[in-house]
Structure formats: structure tokens, C-alpha cells
């Protein structure tokens, strides 16, 4: 096991490369999921409001 972890003396290189890759992919998973869920939550919040109130306010002249 320790021989596996040592990676023939290349442990810092191999494990840091795999570690950084894992972190970047996990961050992407979190961000992509959040983008989808947040968008759904936003429209769910306004789902029961009458349609007119969701329109942008235009000042009447």
C-alpha cells in the first residue's frame, strides 16, 4: 500500500495532479447543479404571483 502511495518517488506529482482534478470537477458539479436548481427556485417563488406583477415596471407618462 505504501509502495502504491509512493508512486516510485513521483508521489507529489501524481497525487497533486489527481487531487487538483478531483477538486475542479467537484466544484464544477456543485456550480452546474446550483445553476439549475437556483433557476427553478426563482420561478417557483413567483409561480403563484399574477402574471402582471412579474412584468418589468414601466413608468406611465
Amino acid at each position: 500500500m505504501s509502495e502504491f502511495l509512493a508512486m516510485g518517488g513521483h508521489a507529489p506529482y501524481v497525487w497533486s495532479a489527481y487531487g487538483i482534478t478531483l477538486v475542479v470537477i467537484l466544484l464544477n458539479i456543485w456550480a452546474a447543479r446550483r445553476a439549475r436548481v437556483r433557476a427553478l427556485e426563482r420561478i417557483a417563488r413567483t409561480a403563484d404571483e399574477p402574471r402582471a406583477r412579474r412584468q418589468p415596471t414601466v413608468r406611465q407618462v
Partner: protein, 251 residues
Amino acid sequence: MALLPVWFHRLGSPPHVYRLAERLRPWLGWGAIVTIAVGAFWGLALAPPDYLQGEVVRIIYIHVPSAYLSMLGYTLMAVAAAIGFVWRIKLAHAAAVSIAPIGASFTFLALVTGGIWGRPTWGTYWEWGDARLMFELLLLFLYLGYLALRASFEDRDKADRVSAILAVVGVVNVPIIHYSVEWWSTLHQGPTLTKLDDPSITLDMLLPLLVMIFGFTLCFGWLVLNRLQGQIVEREHDARWLRQFAAGAAR
């Protein structure tokens, strides 16, 4: 007059694509987890070390999939942006926007894992004179430039159209990256996989590498589907089909 099949036309329909993404997402997600777990174990523990480079060659199983996705992602983004620009299909712009941050991430990973691999192999993390490295860095700047350009517009339609031009012009960089190791042979090693008739890699390393490429591609697909669904919801927020869907299914 069915020039194109119906399923093709339906790819322009937001509700259809949203539901298609909803169905595909779990398959891609779980497929990616299983495939990457198998590929990583195979590459880290079972595959042999390289006779010259030793154990550090195991970085290939994350470096090559990342680099491949950085280029595939940009190509897909440029094609989507071009379709959106020419035929004014909003869904195509939504797809291009969804791909950009993910493609940028894999470009970053290709550069970083390549640098870490380069230190013990070449004696340096980075070499300004190497063409492959330069054009891959340019790819990262193209992704980031695309996102920055979009952010500078208040109006989404305008952002779609202007950023599409940048995406399409930048795609010339993709074949340059691919052939850079043949046109200018400096530090980066030559092609390994794309000489399909005679790949210069043993089967013991080729198989886990292909598994990892497949797993990373599934992960890329899962990420794009999530962001694409988010984009569809933002762009179609007043559509009745979506409000009905959201009223029941917001989690």
C-alpha cells in the same frame, strides 16, 4: 418535404430539450461516477509504469481526457454559437453559454496536470517557447474572453450575438492545437492516440485511458445538461409549460 427528421427539428424546442435533459441526466451522472472510478483505479493501480517516465505517466489518465474535452468543448460551443447566430435559435446560444465555463475548467486542468507532469519529465512546469502549451493557454483565454464579453452586455440577445462571433472566430485555434506538436516539435510529445492505424501506446495503458476519456465525456455531458436546463429556465421563465413544471417539481 421531410428534409430533416422530426427528432432533429425538436432539438430547437426548449420544452422538448428540457425534458430530454431531465431524462438523460441521471444516466450520464451515474455513468460518469462508475466509469471514472473504474478508470482511475485501473490507471493508478493496475496499469504498468512507463519504461522511461516511471509512475508519473499515470497523469496521462487525467491529462489527455481534460485536453481532449477542452478542444471538443470549444468546437461544440462554436458550432452551437454559429447555429444560434445564423438561424437565431435561442436554445443554441443557451447551449454555447452552458459549455463555456465547463470547457474553461477542463482547459485549466489540461494546463495544470500537464505542468505537473512536465516538471519531472521535462525539468520544467512551463515553457514559453512550446507551441502546444501556448495555443492551449490561448484556448483558456478564448473561453474566458467569451464569458467576459457576455458579461459586458445588459441585453442577453445582444450578448448572444456578439459573443457568438468571438466563439466562431476562435475555433481556428482548435486544429492549430491539434497539429501544433507536428508543425513545431519542441517540448510536448507527439500524438499518441490519433494515429489510429498504429497507436504508439501499449494496450495496458490504452484501455484505461479510453475508459477515462469516456468517463470524463459523460461527466462533461452531465455538467452541460445541468447548466443548459438552468439556461432554459432563465430564458423561458414566463412560458406556461415551465411554470406548470416548476410549480410541481422545484426541489
